[in-house]
């Protein structure tokens, strides 16, 4: 028995990386609430990041970037150096490649305008995995099903804030209605620009290739620096040749990201 959901709210995450302290509370709070297993105990050598990427059991992931350039708001005795952190998550795209690729109806758009994998339907075909231009959704080795951030669908039903946003000690992760979040993001951007942080920019809402995202970010460098695709496009957007190209591109990107991780892990 099933039925379509009527939209009640449009919610999302605004992740302001300029106040992320790299504590990883979001990663753990997510695992706690969703009772996710660990990802293995591997020293990657990639700064303080040892979980490496989003995956079937890591739905929030904190990246650490050591840059050979200063942060505009900072002076350090190290000279041209800065260390930036960012908590990545499923983008909950308006045009979600995973959802559109799903042949079983496991992936749905919820009444909160989020993208949710119904574990009671998912058969583990994996089509969604190649459909995601961000390389987010992932199959779990043990049960074969696809998993990713649910935006705490169960908590939303009871009007509770998602676990990561609640735990975040600095409000780097803010949960809320899209309109409110957008206003907040714009205001923050304006204030950073006024303070001379001209590199600050928003990422996500205007990514046309995926119709904009419900989870969006404030960055201080190019998206690639954060391991985010600069111009993601859902595979379904174009047909024929170009669809294949994009699909291959997305796959290649996922493979590249995975390859980087594997090689980092492989050094062990």
């Amino acid at each position: 028995m099933s039925s379509a959901l009527e939209r009640k709210r449009q919610v999302g995450f605004f992740t302001d990386t300029t106040v992320c302290i790299g504590c990883k509370a979001c990663e753990v709070a997510c695992k706690q609430w969703n009772q996710l297993p660990d990802d293995g105990f591997v020293f990657t050598g990639m700064s303080y990041d040892n979980t490496a990427h989003l995956g079937s059991s890591t739905w929030r992931h904190v990246g650490f970037v050591e840059r050979q350039r200063p942060l505009q708001s900072q002076t350090t005795g190290l000279g041209a150096f800065s260390w930036i952190f960012h908590s990545d998550v499923c983008k909950h795209c308006q045009e979600a490649g995973c959802l559109e690729n799903c042949p079983t109806g496991a992936l749905i758009r919820t009444e909160f305008d989020t993208v949710y994998v119904q574990p009671d339907v998912c058969n583990g075909c994996g089509y969604c995995v190649v459909g995601c231009p961000f390389g987010v959704i992932d199959r779990r080795e043990d049960d074969g099903r696809a998993w990713k951030c649910t935006l705490c669908y169960d908590r939303l039903k009871a009007d509770m804030e998602p676990a990561c946003a609640k735990a975040c000690p600095t409000d780097s992760i803010v949960f809320g209605d899209l309109a409110t979040l957008e206003a907040r993001a714009e205001a923050r951007l304006k204030s950073l620009h006024a303070d001379g942080v001209s590199e600050a920019r928003l990422y996500g809402r205007d990514l046309d290739g995926v119709g904009g995202t419900n989870a969006f970010f404030l960055l201080v460098d190019e998206p690639e620096v954060y391991n985010l695709p600069p111009d993601p496009v859902v595979p379904q957007r174009t047909q024929g040749e170009s669809w294949r190209m994009v699909g291959v591109g997305a796959l290649a990107m996922a493979a590249l990201a995975l390859g980087a991780v594997l090689s980092a892990r492989g050094r062990r």
Binding site: V19, I21, G22, C23, K24, E27, V28, K31, Q32, P37, D38, D39, G40, F41, V42, F43, T44, G45, S47, Y48, N50, T51, E66, Q68, L71, S73, Q74, T75, T76, G77, L78, F81, S82, W83, I84, F85, P169, T170, A264, R267, R268
Partner: protein, 856 residues
Amino acid sequence: MEARRRGATIIHIDPRFTRTSAMANLHVPIRAGTDVAFLGGIVRYILENERYFRDYVVAYTNAATLIKEEFQDTEDLDGLFSGWDPKGGHYDVESWQYEGTSDTVPAAGHKEIFAEKGAGIPRKDRGRDVLDEKKDETLQHPRCVFQLLKRHFARYTPEMVERITGCPQELFLKVAQTLCDNSGRDRTSAFAYAVGWTQHSIGVQYIRTAGIIQLLLGNIGRPGGGIMALRGHASIQGSTDIPTLYNLLPGYLPMPHAEHAPDLAAYIHGNEAATNWWSEFSKYVKSLLKAWWGAAADASNDFCFDYLPKLTGNHAHMVTVKDMADGHVSGYLVVGENPVVGSPNGALQRRGLRRARWLVVRDFQPTETAEFWRTSPEHERGEVRAEEIGTEVFFFPAAAHTEKDGTFTNTQRLLQWHHKAIDPPGDARSDLHFAFHLGRRLKALYADSRERRDEPIQRLTWDYPTEGRHDDPSAEAVLREINGYTVADGKPVSGFTELKADGSTACGCWIYAGCYAEGVNQTARRKSHREQIWVAPDWGWAWPANRRILYNRASADPDGKPWSERKRYVWWDEKALKWTGSDVPDFIVDRPPSYRPNKRAKGLDAIGGNDPFLLQADGKGWLFAPSGMMDGPMPTHYEPQESVVRNLLYKQQCNPARHEFRRRDNRYHRAFDDPRFPLVMSTFRLTEHHTAGGMSRTLPWLSELQPEMFCEISPALARARGVTNGDWATLTTARGMIECRVLVTERMTPLAIDGRRIEQVGVPWHWGAVGRVRGDAANELTAFGEDPNVNIMESKALTCDLVAGRRPRGEAGREAFARLDDALTLDADERRALDEEGLRGAGPPLPEPTQMEPKG
């Protein structure tokens, strides 16, 4: 981040570029172990550039007080103050006293200091004539504290700061300017330090220097000011308030010393002050004795003072372990701690455990300390075998905080009650259960004794009600006793001002009096912060008297008016004739600002209306400490026990009063320039782990975030040692050898120290030999050695070496470890040469701390 959001400038001073640095407006790398030089430079900057908050300094500090003529500074004695006894290795504080007083001016909460040798003997009415002190409020007299401070720090110039710390002058000046620009009537600045600041052979003086800066800038007792310790355990504050520390009784009352406290009267005489708050001392100690020995304690028997065991020397952790290793300590109870990983010189810790007859460990799961008999580097090297270790070991599983009622005291002195949610699993029990039932058993074992020495346990009050299926003692009943009550009716007192010296009150910890006022558990109050003022007085309960900022009388000017509207906090209400404000005033509530004591005033009458520092005998904040410090009245830059350079300021290389343990199993490096150990090493913590790992390395969710032991080094050092990111490397000191992964990062940078490039190595200390994720423990490398004031080790600044590759194992490991032992200390010729140069820090061994003071 909240402060940054509100516009504060965040300055982070750290040898490493950390996650905190990443959030700071200004990050300043310095060489580990040079903080007094850096902070001393700020003191000089403030004084030379007249940036101090003059009205505050003159009224509320001892800046104007004249010091005796006999006093000599480190400027006169090349790194020592007057009063130094080279043979005993300690100071006599006689010459540090205020002019006009005939006596030692007692420090607040001076603990055992006055019972320590060389720190003066107890005298009648200590501090009675403190009001006779001489002052020069123009701050011009050459012997006033202000001028002494100026002279003492005159050489801590920006150039000198750069040479010693490696911090470029411009960066240093930016820190000093920013700090001064953000202090004064309208603004305040706060210092926050992690307890690594204490892990130095002059750790207490680090904090003293910050205290001097904050007093000069008027940042104490005011909102947004202060010095905050960011501490690492849920109740580490509580565990000094109600101490499991050898030298203290609850509420910072000193443990009695055999020589100075033969009876209660002598003990009280030796510890109470004639003036100000410590004049109340006898009320607190008698109430404590009443709480412990109840009806058995009365005036006729000195309130059972005799029952308290007496100290004769240094009974701190390192001395205990040393004595254990030498076969003098048979039994060891380790409760929620893991010294094999968390304490210095892991090998010596285990040597102690191997010599103990029995060991009790209480934790969630067996720790490295519980497993020492079968899992250790010595086992791995084949040096010891379980079959040869005779220690009997008991491991008791402990209940979690969710399985018991009780209070933690957080780092802001806030007591918060946590409620029991469920029963502990299996045979796990709370430590309260353990203590209570062990006590019950011992009472039973001693019940029939006629020995006088068994009276203290026989008569100990121990009748706490029990509850639940495990007979858990009621934590609330214990808290009631801690709060205190009137003996006649058992009614809880509402605060320490109700305690009496006549035996009519009992109180387990006077500073906690009021936490159970009116029979209500005040620590369990949880009014939402949204429903009360920003100070949040109705959340939990802060000692003393639910006061959130100590010395808050200083938030108003001498006339009792707020220094500024912006920093309004506590003030004198002219109409109501009392102190009022956002917090519980830290003052006698109806004493007007204009009150001045007459010269012969005693006790609380001696507190003037402009004396915010009630616990000090003179009511002032001490820029200069005439007593209370074992290593000088003013902070002085000394190099760590092990350094890469000479002390550029004085001939005295190291803290002269530090405690050394010169043993074969605790070798030191040369005091400086040891060619075998050219790198500066500092241990640190990670957000993802907790201390020795007993509460984090067992959890998959935390272990995956930081799975392996590593060290952080600069790319230049990596190149020099032939390692790349992710490789294995071996770190060595004369104490041990550990292997770890290498994290090569620009966050570590070599510093230019007096023309040389100095490399530093950052070493997290969370790993050990057992747990879900394991690794070598950093404390295999560190040494026994103590700050003389608080007996804390020096693990934040030492020297080491790093080579590529994993450490040798088995036979090869044994040989390599044995080689560490050879020829590591100075030979006779080298030592003589250094002595001739006057480098006393590297000179003859200091007297080793012992539990029995030498006769004489």
